[in-house]
Amino acid sequence: MQLHPRYFGRNLRDNLVSKLMKDVEGTCSGRHGFVVAVTGIENIGKGLIRDGTGFVTFPVKYQCVVFRPFKGEILEAVVTMVNKMGFFAEAGPVQIFVSNHLIPDDMEFQSGDMPNYTTSDGSVKIQKDSEVRLKIIGTRVDATEIFCIGTIKDDFLGVINDPTTV
C-alpha cells in the first residue's frame, strides 16, 4: 500500500487500513475471485520511502473474504434477465449465463411482459427473480468482474422449490 505523506501522523495506521479497504474491496482477480470484505489486518511491515516522491510503501498482510466460483461447482443464483438465447443469473457479484441449449428440452421460452421458460405442463417456470440451482461449466475473468457459463440440464438442478415460501 502506498501512502502520501499527508496521511502520516497519529492516524497513520487507520489511514492505511481504510485506504487498503477502499482499494482492495470490490476488486477481483483470476486467482482469488472477488474480494468482498477485509476482515482483519495481520501485520503491517516497515514503510519504505520511494525515491524521489516521498510516498511510502507499506507491506500489509491482511485477511479477507473472497468469492471465487469454480468450474464444476454447483450453486444457487437469482435470475436477472430472460430471453430466447437463455437467461442471466447473479450469484452475489458474479454473473452467470445459461444458454437455452443447457436448459432442459421440456422447457420452452415464452415472450411477453415477463419473459420466461416454462415446462409444457406449466408446473415449473423460470423468470426474473426466480431462484435457480445451476452448475458452472466455465469461468472468464476480466479486469473488473467474473463471468460464468452455467447449465441446469443435470439432475437436481433448476428452479429451487422452497416449501417455506409456498
Binding site: E25, H32, V65, F67, F70, K71, P93, R133, F156
Partner: protein, 138 residues
C-alpha cells in the same frame, strides 16, 4: 493461471490455495458481512456510500441464500459436517445446498464418493439427517 484447464470442482481440483484456505458457508458469510456493515454504520454517516457494490451484492446474496439464520444453528451445522472428514469446499457446498437425499448429495458434491475416504451411503445419510434436524429446530 496454468491450472485453469484442469480446474474442476466436482473432483475437488480447485488449486492448492483454496484447498488449504478456510471456506465459509453462505450463512457464515452473512454473519460476517452483517457485522461489518453494522460497524460501518456506527463509524460513518452514510454506510451505503462506503461499501462497494461487490459487498452489497454479496450481502444480499448470502442473506437470501442462507439456510440457517441463527448463529448457534450455523455453529452446529459446521460442527456436524466437520465430523465427516470432508474438505472445506465440500463441507460448504453441502451446508449451502442442504441436499435432502444421498443421491442429491452425491450429485452436488461428486468428490465425496470419488476420493476414496470410505464415505459410504449410510454415513452420508446420517449426516443429512443431522442437518435437517437442526433446520427443524432452528
Amino acid at each position: 493461471m496454468s491450472g485453469e484447464e484442469e480446474e474442476n470442482a466436482a473432483e475437488l481440483k480447485i488449486g492448492d490455495e483454496f484447498l488449504k484456505a478456510k471456506c465459509l458457508m453462505n450463512c457464515e458469510v452473512s454473519l460476517i458481512l452483517e457485522h461489518k456493515y453494522e460497524q460501518l454504520q456506527q463509524t460513518s454517516d452514510d454506510p451505503t456510500n462506503s461499501v462497494s457494490q461487490v459487498f452489497e451484492k454479496s450481502l444480499q446474496y448470502v442473506k437470501r441464500f442462507s439456510r440457517y439464520k441463527n448463529p448457534d444453528a450455523v455453529r452446529q451445522v459446521r460442527e456436524i459436517l466437520a465430523r465427516y472428514q470432508l474438505a472445506e469446499f465440500e463441507l460448504c457446498v453441502l451446508g449451502n445446498l442442504c441436499p435432502e437425499t444421498v443421491e442429491e448429495a452425491i450429485a452436488m458434491v461428486p468428490s465425496i464418493k470419488t476420493r476414496g475416504r470410505a464415505q459410504d451411503d449410510e454415513a452420508i445419510e446420517k449426516m443429512l439427517n443431522d442437518l435437517s434436524l437442526i433446520k427443524k429446530f432452528e
